[in-house]
Symmetry: C2
Subunit: 172 residues, 2 copies
Amino acid sequence: MTTSPHTQTSPADGAEPRWLNPEEQHLWRTFLRMRQELDAQLARQIQAESDISLADFSVLVVLTDVPEGRVRVLELARGLQWEKSRLSHHLARMVKRGLIDRAECSEDGRGSFVLITDAGRRSIEAAAPRHVELVRTLFFDPLTSEQVTQLTAISERILGAMQGCPSLDPEN
Amino acid sequence: MTTSPHTQTSPADGAEPRWLNPEEQHLWRTFLRMRQELDAQLARQIQAESDISLADFSVLVVLTDVPEGRVRVLELARGLQWEKSRLSHHLARMVKRGLIDRAECSEDGRGSFVLITDAGRRSIEAAAPRHVELVRTLFFDPLTSEQVTQLTAISERILGAMQGCPSLDPEN
DNA sequence: CCACTGTGGGTGACGTGTCAACCAATGGGG
DNA sequence: CCCCATTGGTTGACACGTCACCCACAGTGG
């Protein structure tokens, strides 16, 4: 659906593109749909059953993971692999909804701490169990333990291929 | 990063959640990052090297795939698995940018056709080769052919588990 | 002490996605 | 034939992401 030669153009630029063969085509389509369905379901569920979004959830997870529930913004950005701009916007919204709070950083005048509020802690504790349950139901339960092992290797391979990529990776 | 018992609460509601064990935890985190990195790269590349977005691309692919480059909106929605609202908004933007056009449907008074313009065809033909190339580089090249087979089975399994889900699936 | 570069972080504008509500045409049943 | 539920599709408000730009402070070199 995404990458076949429907258009029979021999590209004027460089080499012929290596179009996907039918099996590859099938995997790519299936993989995309799986990804899409999976986090649509996860997002909808957490949205519907609690007062936080999936994005809120992942921020709060990091905050509950560290002692004192207090992290530097940039560390958060690295942990989540989010652009700093996205994080900044999102944190602002979370502050507005009372899930987190900010504190100045004495060691570095430009730095800033984020800390989880009691309300934030309550929200994630309420959301987590049902979320894990759904991750199990949709993701782990359908797979054999062998497939879990295989998928781990596969994900690492693909991830590895992207880390050393000369590609577009603007400042985080 | 997303699903462990950082918070040692025995939930007051029903049964204990089945938290993820360390291997599962690792797979889940790796999988999420892989997904995220992968389409961030794909989106950035197509955005940077052509005048269309990844979403535009997938719409245009469907349109080049059918004879006469002309599809009913709902069929498009089913093909892409997009909510009709999202599709409607997106189509409006694409019309504004001259990538597609609309036509009335004589057989069904409320229906509407979408058709690809020459500019749209030129855009996707320009974008496709580099896009496929990147899909190969990031996704297929790192995998052995055995892993391709495994991943196909895995994706189908997970997708299958979601199809028959009693979950939240509002009108498309 | 002063430039100068780099880094931590925020802002505004704009494109995109979602939800809920809406509207018009359709296709049955009575 | 008319009523009415369904279907195809749009709209508006709002949450979210991204890009480009900005600003304050930090850490150098001279």
